[in-house]
């Protein structure tokens, strides 16, 4: 059973379009992270959010942590082919369990030129 549910499972869009990936749970998390994984590689950390309601922006990527710290979203503006990959959200239940992450099953994003 996945504690973190990601939606959609798969997203295919054209270059220049926007997209949003959701990560939801009934549990509260101390912090939540987003990773991107490409074929043949391990996940690469994109961002960590720790405060309810927090919004972080990294260039064209916007990450939001829900007020109740149970959900998060990742929004990509003007997607590019280089944004293609498997996006994973992961949460830590407590502040001292940062290494014992609960991962969502992932959202496969494909951006075509």
């Amino acid at each position: 059973t996945q504690l973190l549910e990601q939606s959609p499972q798969f997203l295919s869009i054209q270059e220049g379009e926007n997209l949003t990936v959701y990560c939801n749970s009934s549990s509260v998390f101390s912090s939540l992270q987003w990773y991107r994984q490409e074929p043949g590689e391990g996940p690469v950390l994109l961002v960590t959010v720790v405060t309810g309601g927090e919004v972080k922006k990294l260039k064209r990527l916007t990450f939001q942590f829900g007020d109740a710290r149970k959900d998060s979203s990742l929004h990509i503006t003007a997607a590019q082919p280089g944004d293609t990959g498997l996006y994973l959200c992961a949460g830590a239940k407590t502040t001292d369990s940062w290494g014992k992450l609960q991962f969502g099953a992932g959202t496969q994003v494909v951006v075509t030129p």
Partner: protein
């Protein structure tokens, strides 16, 4: 600077055999984490080692075991292999404080026939 390195890249075993996977952390990192990424299930936390000690363990049977050596490298052993053990095994490392920053290796793909 070298990243997290894992070996072997691929391993094929038959049911009932034993598999040993190895991980070398980033220089200066003393914490090592193991995750299993099975198809469609997302990453599942396996083990966490800190300074040679097992700090935390996920919900896996005892036939999954590991250790961390004085040079902080780590080994994951899986005994009595079952078909469902087929997965990508990912190792990550971090500084002792963690700070929510895990760096993953590319993984070892274990196939059990």
């Amino acid at each position: 600077e070298a990243g997290v390195t894992q070996s072997p890249t691929h391993l094929i075993k038959t049911r009932g055999q034993q598999a040993t996977l190895r991980c070398s952390p980033i220089s200066g990192h003393t914490s090592v984490y193991w995750y299993q990424q099975a198809l469609g299930l997302g990453l599942q936390f396996l083990l966490w080692y800190d300074e040679g000690e097992e700090r935390n363990r996920g919900n896996f049977p005892p036939r999954f075991s590991g250790r961390q050596f004085p040079n902080y490298s780590s080994e994951l052993n899986v005994n009595a292999l079952e078909l469902e053990d087929s997965a990508l095994y990912l190792c990550a490392s971090s500084f002792p404080s963690g700070a929510n920053v895990l760096t993953f290796g590319a993984g070892s793909r274990l196939t059990v026939l």
